[in-house]
Point group: C2
Chain length 297, copies 2
C-alpha cells in the first residue's frame, strides 16, 4: 500500500485543546495515523504530521479544514509566523510506494474538494503548482491574511480553486506536493559567527550554492559555538553527505573544524542510506538488502 505523508500547518498554537480535538478526529479516520503534533504559542501555529493512504487523507484533510475553520478566526489571530489562512499550508509528501505524481494528483483533488465544499480559496504550490510563479510558498503567502483581499484582486492572483475573494475568517489555503524536508544543522568548533554566516552563504541556493539547500548562520549562545542551520528540500538531488562535505571544506578555509551535525525531527531511511553508500563506496547496494525492509516486503 502506498503511504503518503501530510504535514498541515494550522493557525492555532495557543489553545492546545482545540488542536488535540482536531488531531483526535484525524486519527479516527481509517487508514490515517497522526505521527506528531507540535504547537508553538509564540507562532500561534501548530504542525501536524499525518501518514496514510490516499483514500484516508482524502477524508482526513477536508475534516481538518472544516474543524479548523470553525475554531480559528484570522481576523483576531496574532502570531509571529506568517500565515494566509486558518489552515495555512497542506503539503503531501511521497513516502513508501507513492510517487510525486500521486501526491500532485491528491493535492489537486483535495484542493478542489475543499474549495467547492467549504468555500475557501485554494492555491496550489511546489510540485502541484499549475504556474511557475506559484511554486514558492513564500511568494503566495507574501502580504499575509491582512493583505489577501487586495492581492487576490490583482491580475494573476485568482486562486486555483474556489471563490475569487478570501474567506472572511479563514483566508485562503495553500495545498501542494513536495519532497520530504530534512532539518539539518552543522555545529562548528568556533564562536565566530561570521564563519557560520559565510558558510551558509556559500552552501545555500539563493546565493549560489546547492540547489536544494536553505541555510543561515546562527550563534548557539549557551554553548559558545556557531551553527549552520539548514533545510534540505530535496535529499535525492542534494544529498546530506554532499552538504556535509561542502560545509566541512568551507570551514577548513577558515581553520575551523566541524564539531558535530544533527538531524531535527524525522528523516527518510534513504537519506541516511545514501550517506552510508557514499562514504563506504558501496557499489550495487539496494534497499532490498536492508533486513528490516525485507521483513516487511
Amino acid at each position: 500500500m502506498a503511504i503518503i505523508e501530510s504535514v498541515p500547518n494550522i493557525s492555532e498554537g495557543i489553545r492546545t485543546d482545540v488542536v488535540a480535538r482536531i488531531a483526535d478526529a484525524l486519527g479516527a479516520v481509517s487508514g490515517v495515523r497522526v505521527l506528531d503534533v507540535q504547537s508553538d504559542a509564540t507562532h500561534n501555529r501548530s504542525v501536524l504530521t499525518l501518514a496514510g493512504d490516499a483514500a484516508g487523507l482524502r477524508q482526513a484533510i477536508p475534516r481538518l479544514v472544516s474543524m479548523t475553520m470553525e475554531a480559528v478566526d484570522l481576523r483576531t489571530h496574532r502570531g509571529e509566523h506568517p500565515r494566509l489562512g486558518a489552515v495555512d499550508v497542506v503539503p503531501f509528501i511521497p513516502i513508501e510506494g507513492a510517487t510525486m505524481a500521486d501526491c500532485v494528483a491528491l493535492a489537486r483533488d483535495i484542493g478542489k474538494d475543499v474549495a467547492d465544499r467549504l468555500g475557501v480559496p485554494v492555491y496550489l504550490y511546489e510540485e502541484a503548482a499549475q504556474r511557475p510563479d506559484r511554486r514558492n510558498l513564500e511568494d503566495i503567502r507574501r502580504g499575509e491574511f491582512e493583505g489577501l483581499a487586495e492581492k487576490m484582486a490583482k491580475p494573476g492572483w485568482a486562486p486555483d480553486f474556489g471563490p475569487s475573494q478570501p474567506h472572511p475568517s479563514a483566508g485562503a489555503t495553500v495545498i501542494g506536493a513536495r519532497m520530504p524536508l530534512i532539518a539539518y544543522n552543522i555545529n562548528l568548533a568556533t564562536n565566530r559567527l561570521d564563519v557560520a554566516k559565510k558558510i551558509a552563504t556559500a552552501v545555500r541556493m539563493s546565493s549560489g550554492g546547492l540547489r536544494f539547500v536553505k541555510a543561515m548562520g546562527l550563534p548557539l549562545e549557551d554553548r559558545g559555538v556557531v551553527q549552520v542551520s539548514m533545510n534540505l528540500t530535496n535529499y535525492e538531488k542534494t544529498p546530506i553527505f554532499r552538504v556535509f562535505d561542502l560545509v566541512q571544506r568551507e570551514a577548513a578555509r577558515y581553520g575551523v573544524n566541524v564539531l558535530e551535525s544533527e538531524i531535527v525531527g524525522l528523516v527518510p531511511q534513504a537519506a541516511l542510506m545514501q550517506a552510508a553508500e557514499y562514504y563506504l563506496q558501496l557499489e550495487g547496494f539496494s534497499a532490498q538488502q536492508v533486513l528490516e525492509n525485507k521483513l516487511r516486503e
Copy 2:
C-alpha cells in the same frame, strides 16, 4: 512483537525439490516467514533464512529437523562443505525487539526439544554455548560426520542434549545464538594479490586485527583487481565504518586506493545507520527519527 531470524543450514543442495518441500512446510507455520533459500550443489548444502516470533520458530525448527532427517542420510552424503549433521547448524539471531538473551533461551529450548523428540544429539554454540570450548562452530564440527562417533566417545564431547552417540543417519546438530553476520568485501584498485592478503592479515582478529572480523585476500580474475573478502560477526562492536577506514588506511601504506566495497546479502538497518552517523558526525540521533521506523511503531 519481537522478531528473531534463524538460518538453518541443511546437508542437501542437489535435490532442490526436497529443499522446496521443507521450505514450504516452514512457511506454512503461523508467525514464520521464509525470506530466502539458497542451495549449492557443489557444497550439497542449503541455507534457509527464516524470520518469525519465538512461538513460530519453536514449531518450525523441529519440523525442519524431522523432515530433513527423513530425506537426508549422511552415510551417503557427499559435498565440499564440512558438516556434522543432516541439519548441520541452526543459529538464532536477534532482529527487532528481541535480545540476544531471548535467542539463547530459544536455542536451548529448541535444542532440548529436538534432542528429546527426534533422538539427535545437540551441541550448543556461540552465545548459547554452555562451555567456552563450544563457542566456535569450527571446533565442534572438526572431524565431521565421519569422525563423530569417535569424537563423541572422547572426554569433554558429550552433547548438551540427547544421546551420547551420533544419530546413525543424521549425525548431530549444532544449535546456537549469534549476532547477524555481514558479508562485506572491499575491492582494491590494484591487481597485487599480496596487498589484499597483507591487509586481510592486518584487519582480521585471528592475526591481531579487529575482534569481530574474518578476512582473506582474493583475486577477482575477470576484473584484474583484488578483494579483501570479510565476514563481520558483530557489527555493533566492530562496525562496518571502522573496518572500511582501517582497510583504506592499510591500502594507502602500499599506495593503493579502495575501488569500492560491497555488502553481499542482507544487512541490518542499524549497521548502515552507524556508518551515516559516524561520517556525518551526527550527535543525538535515534532510530526513532527514521520516518519508516516511526510509521511502523
